[in-house]
Structures are given as C-alpha cells and as structure tokens.
C-alpha cells in the first residue's frame, strides 16, 4: 500500500522548523535503527547536537519520498545533562520530568511490565538522547547509520548505551498490516482520506499552535525551545506470537474461524481490511486501498456485532461510536511511528522459538505523554469507558488470571483465558525539539 498521503492544501505550519518524523510516514518496506546515548559531559552533549543537527531533516516536502532520515529526541535527564538552565527545566510538564518508569502506576506497568524487569538502559537516569534512523532500503539505511556513526566516532562526553535495528514490510510480527491509521494534522496540507476523521488542530501534535481547546497547550520556554517541538512516547514490547497463535487454535477449529477470531481481537483482518467493511470474510483489496482502509465509523454498529467494542482499534480510536464516559476522541489522537523488529512468526507456529521479536511503540504529539497515560489506564487496561467492565484490550493489556474477551453476537461469545500477548521491555518519555531548538540547545 502507498502510505504517503498527498499534499492537497497549502501547509500553514512552519514545516521547515519541525522535524521530518512528525509528519513523514515511514516507508514500506522500512529499515532502521533506534540508538540511545548518554551525555557524560555537557560540552560533549552540545557538540553531539551540533554534529547531528545537519542530519535531521525538516518536515518540508514531507509528502515526497526520501531514502532515509534521522530523528532526534531528548529525555528530561538528557536536558539536565546538557546543562539546560533550571528555569527551562522547570517549564516542562511534571510527567515528562518524572519519566516513564516513575509513572508506572499511572501507566499500569506492573507485574512483568514493571520497570524493575526492564532491559537496560530503559528506566535508568542514563538515557539521555534517542536517535532513530528510518530508511526505505537496506543500502540507504547502512549509509545513514554510517553517517551518524562517523559523527559519534571521536566524540568525547557521549556514550552509546543501546543500538537496536528494526525493519519490516508494513506488517507487524503478528502478521497484521500496521501503522497506517494516522490523524490528519490541520495545517500540514495533508489530504483528508475517507473516514479518517476531520483534521485535528495542529496544537494537538506540534507545540505553539492552537489546540482543540482553542489555545496552545503548555510548552516549555523559551519560545525557541518549545515552539515546533513535540513529545515522544517510546515503549518497546516483546511479542508472544506463539502464545497468540495457540490462543487462536484453542478457540477456533478451522483456519477460517481462526482468522475471524484474529480479526475480532484487532478489529481488522491481517490484510488491514476493517471488519466494519468486511464483516464476514477478509477482503485483501480493502487492505491495499488507502482510500478505503479507514472509510468507516462505528455509529451503525453500537453493539459491536461487526467490530467488537473491545477490539484493539475500536478501543484505541473509538471514532464516532457512543461511549459510556464523556470523552473527546479528538484530543486522544496520536501520531504513530512504531517500528517492528525481529522475524514474524507464521500463524501455524505454536511453539515459542525464544527469538527476540516485537514492536517499538512510538507515539508523537503535544499530548503524547498525557494520552498514552490516559490510554493505558482508561482504554487499554479497563473496559468501563465502553461498558465492558474490567475487560481489557486483547492485544496490549496486562491480563489478569481468568481474563476473557467478548465477541458480541446473538448469543455473544465469551472467550476465556486470554493472556498478555505483549510484554513491555522498557520505555521512555522524550521531547523532540524543533530544528531551531536543537541549535539553541547546542549552544
């Protein structure tokens, strides 16, 4: 599928100051790397920013394909390590300053997902700078990584903590097409695709512009630092694909039944075709068609007979569906830049091969931190908002003993013993500065 939207209006945002990743879709297939760095000396940190700045492209011409690009973001500890003045540090929101690990209770990151079980370096005060490289070919990826490593090579005061490669075709390790549903950012010039919802105010995604409240959301100061920046939530998951496959086998007899159950859990067939438009059988052509893939709502399916109320995509973006709790779905949208790593496991494999595979969930937005905290507590690990009591998201929640998933119907089917299919390996909150803010921070 062509994941690039067309530019159909004149952009009104300051695209040449916003980082490319904010508006640029990842290519298909994609290749890349996430690196995490520690700043051990403020001068070295500033030098790092000076050297990497030329590698970070802007969002100008975000609609045109590009072979590779780099994105850069800083944690609160990173800003401290750079020697950013006290007043500026204090102007950041409390949850960003606390960091993801300290927010575990709010995020419902307990048990196996608790920070005590995370991989290094996540959750430690050493995580300072996140660098992500996206590329549309293996060669472009290798070249971009080499260019970035050359800048790092002889630099004192900066230490590489982790280097994780990723890459996929557009399908995640469970075999689902993933990452194509995105909000339309007002002022980006992006064309509206059928069913994608109205454009959402730019200030929901980029600091310094009016948000859905009519005013700009709070931004760190001075203006040169906050404006055109945004927040990033990074969460690395390990996916238990064999357990997922076993769950399908235990609860459905034929392949057709298994694929229907797989679609009921997510709200889409693996092809990307939505249940809302293809309720009985997969229609792969819908999954290939960027004008049809999101051309639906839930208003005409109040009981979830086609798309279950508890399915992953209906929870994560309830669209026009009626909810039990007063909620504004337009302030809960996030830009997703998630990346898959490791080899997918075929649906027929029921034995865990102990390979490392999963998803680096990445959310961007002016409210990204508030929103992922909200999503985790209200829409992922609870069902109350949609009248499902304690039932949780079938794909990404931490399931309790005796958990179940309800497939609405006459009669409804309650599938017992659903497990957690993704375990959190770690995560961080970052601030993604504008190009002029990178420059400001490097001085």
């Amino acid at each position: 599928m062509n994941v690039f939207r067309r530019l159909t209006r004149r952009p009104s945002l300051e695209l040449d100051d916003i980082q490319a990743t904010v508006l640029r879709a990842r290519p298909e297939p994609y290749f890349g790397t996430h690196a995490i760095l520690e700043i051990t000396d403020p001068g070295g940190g500033r030098e790092l920013l000076r050297r990497l700045a030329p590698l970070v492209p802007s969002a100008a011409h975000w609609d045109e394909p590009r072979a590779s690009w780099l994105a850069l973001a800083l944690s609160y500890h990173g800003l401290e390590a750079l020697g950013v003045p006290e007043g500026t540090l204090a102007s950041f929101p409390a949850n960003f300053r606390a960091g993801m690990a300290a927010r575990a209770e709010r995020l419902r990151d307990t048990g196996p997902n608790a920070p005590a079980n995370w991989e290094f370096p996540f959750g430690t005060p050493h995580v300072h700078v996140a660098v992500t490289i996206f590329a549309d070919s293996e060669t472009a990826w290798r070249n971009e990584v080499a260019a970035y490593e050359r800048q790092l090579h002889d630099l004192a005061g900066v230490r590489l903590l982790s280097h994780q490669d990723f890459g996929a075709t557009g399908f995640n390790v469970f075999g689902y097409r993933d990452g194509f549903s995105q909000p339309v950012v007002e002022g980006s010039g992006a064309e509206r695709l059928p069913g994608g919802g109205r454009p959402v105010k730019a200030g929901e995604f980029v600091l310094g512009y009016p948000s859905e409240t009519g005013q700009a959301l709070p931004a760190p100061g001075p203006d040169v630092l906050g404006r055109n920046g945004t927040y990033v939530v990074f969460r690395k998951y390990h996916s238990h694909v064999a357990a997922f496959n076993r769950f399908l086998h235990d609860n459905a007899r034929t392949e057709a039944e298994r694929e229907l159950l797989a679609a009921k859990l997510v709200g889409r067939w693996r092809s990307g075709a939505p249940l809302a438009l293809a309720p009985e059988a997969d229609n792969p052509a819908l999954g290939e068609d960027s004008r049809q893939i999101n051309n639906f709502g839930y208003r005409d399916d109040p009981r979830g007979l086609r798309t279950p109320l508890g399915s992953h995509i209906r929870r994560m973006n309830p669209r026009d569906g009626k909810l039990e709790v007063l909620s504004d779905v337009n302030i809960r949208r996030i830009i997703r830049r998630s990346t898959s790593y490791g080899q997918p496991l075929p649906a027929t494999d029921l034995r865990d091969d102990r390979e490392s595979r999963g998803l680096d969930f990445i959310a961007l937005g002016a409210r990204a931190i508030d929103n992922v905290e909200f999503l985790q507590s209200e829409w992922v690990n609870s069902g109350n908002f949609t009248g499902l009591g304690k039932e949780k998201d079938p794909l990404i929640s931490l399931q309790d003993k005796g958990a179940y998933f309800t497939v609405p119907g006459s009669p409804p089917r309650r599938i017992q013993n659903i497990q957690s299919f993704n375990t959190l390996l770690g995560g961080e909150y970052f601030f993604m500065p504008s190009l002029s803010a990178i420059n400001w921070l490097s001085r």
Partner: protein, 202 residues
C-alpha cells in the same frame, strides 16, 4: 458468638489487635471496641472495601473515588450560583452525560463566602479534566468562575487549582466498590430484559 459477653469476646481477639484498639480508642465502650476489633480481624470484608489512592489526591475504594473541594467564593458568587441552582430546582440531571459521577453536591459555607463541592466518581479525575475542557467548557466555567482564582477550564493551571483546594477524605466507604456508573447502567438494562422475560414467561 455474638451472644457472648463483650469482655470475653474482646479477650478472644488476637493480642496485637487488642493492643491497637486499646491504644487508638482507649476511651470507647467495650461493645464498640469489640465491633472494631472484629472488623480488623475479618480480612475478607475489609479487603473488599480497601481504601487506596485516587491518583494525585483523594481516596478510592475499588473503582470509586471521592473528591471534596472547598473554595473561596468571589463577592456575589454565591448569589449568582443560587440563582442558577434555583432555576434548575437544584436538579443537576445534566451531569449524567459525564458518565462517571455517582453523586455530587454544592454547599455554601461560612455566610456564603465559601463553596463546598463534593462528589463520588469512578476512576481518577485527573485524566478527564482535559475532556471537560473541550466537551463542556461553558458549563465548567459558568459554575467555577464564581470562585476566587479559578484559572478557566482550559488553563494549564486548572489541575493545580483543584489539587490545592481539594481536602482528601481520611475515611471512605462505598457499599459496592466495583459498581461503576457504567456497570450500574448495564445491570439495570439487563434487569429490564430479565423482568420482561419473566413477565412473558407467565
């Protein structure tokens, strides 16, 4: 057991419980001490009603939290609010749309200089303030702008405003701690269906 002499029942409680009760409420009648002591021993009943935190501030039992706010009124604020409450006969039915409010009350204190707002609600209030700011800003601002220092519902200061005026409860009890408003509605709908079925059956 309950027929027994309260002195004997008290002596039958574990020594640690007796000591804790004696220390905290030495001046209570033994009949009441026995009740409290036996409650402390009955882990199952107390666990069901365990009091936890409602996020940033306030107490929570099961799914249900409490919020008590005491704020200074602006001059004329009480009068303006009274006129509004009178217009609607003190009936806040519209609050049903929020979907998490079990109850709420507005009480004027200290010669109309302060307002007490108290509510029992599902979950934590903090995450939903943002939704109030875009879904029902006019209503929120109409009521709360009668208070001194109200920053406006869309202001980044609004959560701080509430936190600093919220008086957390020291004790909190909910009869059905796991019945959220949404669950109550679902059970009521189910009951209507069940009653109809029973009626038709006969």
């Amino acid at each position: 057991m309950s027929e027994q002499n309260p002195q004997v029942r008290f002596q039958n409680l574990p020594a640690t419980v007796r000591d804790r009760v004696n220390e905290a409420m030495s001046d209570a009648k033994v009949v009441f001490k026995v009740k409290v002591g036996e409650l402390l021993v009955n882990r199952k009943e107390t666990a069901e009603h365990a009091v936890t935190g409602a996020g940033r501030i306030g107490a929570k039992s099961g799914e249900i939290s409490e919020l008590t706010l005491i704020a200074e009124l602006k001059p004329g604020g009480a009068e303006r609010l009274r006129r509004f409450f009178k217009l609607i006969d003190g009936n806040l039915a519209g609050a049903g749309q929020v979907g998490t409010l079990h109850n709420m009350r507005f009480v004027f204190l200290d010669n109309d200089t302060k307002l007490l707002f108290a509510t029992a609600y599902d979950g934590e209030w903090d995450p939903y303030i943002d939704d109030f700011a875009t879904k029902i800003p006019e209503m929120m601002d109409y009521i709360f702008s009668n208070m001194e220092g109200w920053p406006g519902i869309t202001s980044p200061e609004v959560k701080e405003y509430i936190v600093t005026r919220q008086v957390p409860a020291e004790a909190w009890y909910v009869s059905q701690p796991h019945l959220t408003v949404a669950e109550e509605s679902r059970l009521l709908r189910q009951d209507v269906t069940l009653q109809r079925f029973l009626t038709e059956l006969n």
